[in-house]
Point group: C3
Chain length 137, copies 3
């Protein structure tokens, strides 16, 4: 059993940006030379998220619409002293996911037919990081 | 440290079907002969979910009611071109979980007193898969 | 590759109590002597949650407000026969997380600048447990 760890850097362009990182993650896994096991993705940000979903903008816009209703920008949050966009980012991070676990089989991320890996910006455009860990053989 | 990977097949019967798979998962873990470590469950579907909860239909119906309110069928989604049931399935997948991580101790899934493993159908009746990975010794 | 497993006990004081356990978890990881790999936290409770977020009470109160709106106490749940606070606890457990995966690097939990580990009580004050697993080298 072996271990491989590496950081991926991402530049987001807008609030509720859905950035597909599937190929980037597969490339990092390729470099690990590990063939079977588990891939762990973690983002250290409290106003961003990771998601496995289809690469279809209509789904991303529908999800965004529902999140805007659950946690509206004009809610009047206590945390608004950092801006209402920041406040909603924290809430959506809690309701979505800041980590993913993906099986690795024969050197390939074992994703479903439509599953792709997305980094979601929940705050404002900025440099972000995703940390990858591979455990396997 | 050892690795074991296997697929579990599930047939769902209706939208918002909660299917308990605890025993199936324990049997797969038994076959792995691994006694201590971690069990990872992943579903490759974008309109289904995995959940650890109590096996009490009132809880499942209450959760369903709340999800129907968060993401109503008659919302008018952009993704409705695949049907409104499909559109809500994607949203609920993002708000619930498509993976579970469960500790393994002395050959048994370390679940709480009331925790059971559920596969939740968020779209329509169909054949589904859950992929199991065990890492441990 | 090595494995370490241990239980952390927590006493919660009220419903929607956010208890920071970062230092407790780091101490357990220190005892494992494992330096690089993954840390897994699991709670076996169906009316509690684990969350990575900032240690800022305004964020916790904002999140609580949103959760109270998504799953109101006075909803009239089928599961109210165990009390409405219990019913909302199950629903919020499903919408939040009952497990966390955190990378381990050079003996330290690899958390983002603002990320801290929280146990959230979703029901009533009681003794709770978090189970830690470390896999690495």
């Amino acid at each position: 059993m072996r271990l491989y760890q590496k950081t991926l850097e991402i530049a987001t362009k807008k609030r509720m940006d859905f950035i597909e990182i599937t190929k980037d993650v597969q490339k990092m896994v390729d470099k690990s030379k590990i063939k079977d096991g588990m891939v762990f993705l973690n983002t250290g940000h409290t106003t961003a998220a990771l998601l496995l979903q289809e690469n279809d903008p209509t789904i991303h816009r529908d999800l965004t619409k529902i999140l805007e209703r659950i946690s509206p920008l004009d809610e009047g949050y206590e945390h608004d002293y950092e801006g209402n966009e920041n406040a909603t980012g924290h809430i959506r991070n809690a309701l979505l996911h800041s980590s993913l676990t993906i099986p690795l089989k024969n050197g390939k991320l074992l994703l479903g037919t439509w599953q792709r890996i997305f980094f979601i910006e929940l705050f404002e455009p900025r440099r972000r990081e995703v940390f990858l860990t591979v455990i396997g053989k």
